[in-house]
């Protein structure tokens, strides 16, 4: 078993080098010249062969499978860390952070909007981590996601984020998800990719080989600075992007809640030693429920109030979102162009823009453009209403969830927010006992004058 894991880890770590070598070998051989002329190095990258899309999916499947086995069965942080490094090198620095499940949300949303067929490998990237999360939790986040991995690598001295702040900031990924789906489905923008803080960093390394680094990164320098800022925060706050922004993480939370075989802190029964209480740098360990501070009837009253408030928030969000729709529509190029052309036609602005010049050159009737723009604005009114309702629903559901009385008796990972990174295992004395094996354990117990303990069952 250990050899198989070691072999797979080595293959994953070697994957970037192997894939690059394979891609180079796919290029045609240089022509032979008799004149002594040496063919110059090809500067433009060749198109990527289709087969590598399937290689990417295969690496994803292998990495998720390995991460799942390591988190649930082997329960070793060091191995999980190695897989994470391999995934960071392959999906991050070699593949430049694209394609990734986080960005695939937009492809799927655009396809739902109509007129776009999602490539099969993008669908695989979108659904695979979700399916795995449904059964085994967020092992993808813990060891495979390159965005999570780069933040995990830089985490040096984690500070504890207060619970109230964690709950409040934890709403932002849902809002970001809603906005990203709206803009992608309407064909306006792929905001997740546009504002990805780490892609510039991933692509910086290959760019170091180019002649003009400044020109190459000029377009994304702002995001490079944002990415560096997020990583600087990540020195002390564990994975800030994953916890407070990642829209795919919001989806994974949904699925992971239902996971049947999620990681546990103790391999079997929790002995309530409280050693693991501060083990998680991501605030994903739930403590045993404290005694309720309210009477049962008062608690029920507050819950009822929140249940009444939630639909009110949804309706308020719906109204506000619909009102914001036309303004949000201006993100779409066509709507902006139509507005500009309308102003030019009315003589309210002087001169033309490149976009309006290009439009006039097509000799397309202006009415066509206005009609298309009106249709898009209508879509944004509906979409904005849905986005507003979604935000209201998220806030309402959170308030309801915070008013529900919990009865937890053990320390356990929060199935929604736990990233299955494996840090908490090492803190558990029951886990240490399991690792020591039956012989050592029995010796320890017999020296202490106790009886040999039965073999703990692994979960």
């Amino acid at each position: 078993m250990k050899r198989a894991i070691l072999l797979t880890v080595i293959v994953l770590l070697a994957a970037p080098g192997w894939a690059e070598a394979a891609e180079r070998s796919a290029q045609p051989p240089p022509a032979q010249f008799e004149t002594g002329y040496e063919r110059p190095t090809v500067e433009n990258p060749l198109p990527r062969a289709d087969v590598f899309e399937y290689v990417d999916v295969a690496v994803l499947v292998a990495a998720i499978a390995l991460a799942t086995v390591l988190a649930l069965k082997v329960r070793r942080r060091a191995w999980i860390f190695l897989v994470m490094l391999g995934a960071l090198l392959y999906f991050g620095f070699y593949r430049g952070g694209c394609v990734c499940p986080i960005g695939a949300i937009q492809n799927v949303a655009l396809a739902l909007g109509g007129g776009y067929a999602v490539p099969a490998f993008v669908l695989a990237f979108f659904f695979l981590p979700l399916v795995v999360a449904l059964f085994f939790g967020r092992t993808f986040c813990g060891a495979v996601c390159p965005l999570g991995a780069i933040q995990d690598v830089v985490l040096v001295r984690p500070v504890r984020v207060p619970g109230w702040l964690e709950h409040a900031l934890g709403l932002l990924p849902y809002v970001y998800l809603g906005a990203a789906v709206l803009f992608a489905a309407t064909g306006a923008a792929f905001v997740i990719c546009e504002y990805d803080p780490f892609v510039s960093i991933f692509r910086l390394v290959p760019l170091l080989h180019t002649e003009s680094l400044m020109d190459a990164v000029r377009g994304s320098m702002n995001m490079l600075i944002v990415g560096a800022g997020v990583l600087a925060i990540g020195l002390f706050v564990g994975r800030p992007y994953c916890r407070y922004l990642c829209p795919y993480g919001a989806l994974l939370r949904f699925f992971s809640r239902a996971s049947r075989w999620h990681v546990t802190i103790a391999p079997d029964e929790c002995v309530q030693c409280r050693l693991c209480e501060d083990a998680c740098p991501f605030g994903a360990i739930r403590k045993p429920s404290p005694p309720p501070s309210l009477s049962r009837s008062a608690g029920k009253g507050r819950l009822a109030a929140m249940l009444v408030l939630a639909p009110v928030l949804v309706v308020a969000g719906l109204w506000l979102g619909a009102r914001a729709g036309p303004a949000m529509a201006r993100v779409h190029d066509t709507v902006r162009l139509a507005d500009r052309v309308r102003l030019e036609q009315a003589g309210k602005v002087e001169g033309t823009t490149n976009a309006s010049d290009a439009f006039y050159a097509t000799r397309r009737p202006v009415e066509d453009l206005y009609a298309e723009s009106a249709g898009l604005v209508g879509n944004f009114v509906w979409g904005g209403a849905l986005l507003g309702a979604w935000v209201g629903l998220v806030v309402g559901a959170k308030l309801v969830s915070l008013s529900v009385r919990r009865t937890r008796t053990d320390y356990e990972p929060d199935r929604a927010t736990c990233l299955s990174c494996g840090r908490c295992f090492a803190y558990c004395p029951k886990e240490q006992s399991r690792r020591a094996g039956p012989v050592v354990r029995d010796t320890l117990y017999s020296r202490a004058g106790g009886e040999a303990q039965p073999e703990p069952t692994q979960t």
């Binding site: 690598v153 830089v154 040096v156 001295r157 619970g163 109230w164 702040l165 709950h167 409040a168 900031l169 709403l171 932002l172 809002v175 910086l204 760019l207 170091l208 180019t210 002649e211 003009s212 680094l213 400044m214 020109d215 000029r218 320098m221 600075i225 560096a228 020195l235 030693c273 409280r274 050693l275 693991c276 209480e277 501060d278 403590k287 429920s289 404290p290 005694p291 309720p292 501070s293 309210l294 928030l313 308020a316 969000g317 506000l320 979102g321 009102r323 914001a324 303004a327 949000m328 201006r330 993100v331 507003g388 935000v391 806030v395 959170k398 308030l399 915070l402 008013s403 919990r406 803190y427």
Partner: protein
């Protein structure tokens, strides 16, 4: 009375020295990386204003030479020389940025490794935290969280209202 000889290979002493070295290296690498990063950003900001192919002086030289129909060989040579200087400057900046990028990457790597080593050797054995405080009172913690959620909800509503009013310039 003789003082007992201190074992130089005492593990705890070695660990302390190792830890101090890691902290020192982390601080030095952090400062180095910050300096290189700041320099690169400053150069980048400067490069936004500097375009070697849009030099006013070069344009002036060209206009002068064009007026003579490029018959003045010395003027043409001056243009060539000036253009060559600009190109050298351009490629120097590229080399500077590339070298700076590698130095920054090296500095950050050294910083991360030494900072993680320092954090690991300064880490204390796990111990149960003190009971009590806000966390022990589930009611107070949940109330604080509810208020924080309400504030975030209000902020989101305000943002949507601002977009609707066109205040955010979307």
């Amino acid at each position: 009375m003789t003082t007992p000889k201190r074992n130089p290979f005492d593990p705890s002493r070695r660990a302390r020295v190792w830890c101090a070295v890691a902290v020192g290296v982390a601080i030095a690498a952090g400062l180095f990386s910050a300096a290189v990063g700041a320099n690169l950003v400053a150069r980048w900001v400067e490069s936004l204003r500097w375009d070697p192919f849009d030099s006013a002086e070069l344009a002036h030289l060209r206009e002068e030479a064009m007026a003579d129909g490029f018959s003045d060989e010395a003027a043409v040579e001056r243009i060539r020389e000036f253009e060559r200087t600009l190109r050298e400057e351009y490629f120097y900046r590229g080399r500077f940025a590339r070298m700076g990028g590698w130095m920054l990457m090296g500095g950050v790597l050294v910083f991360l490794v030494s900072a993680k080593t320092a954090a690991a050797c300064l880490r204390r054995a796990p111990a149960p935290p003190h009971a009590g405080g806000v966390e022990a009172d589930g009611g107070r913690a949940a109330r604080a969280a509810r208020w924080a959620v309400v504030l975030i909800g209000l902020a989101l509503a305000a943002a949507l209202a601002a977009v609707a009013a066109g205040a955010l310039g979307v």
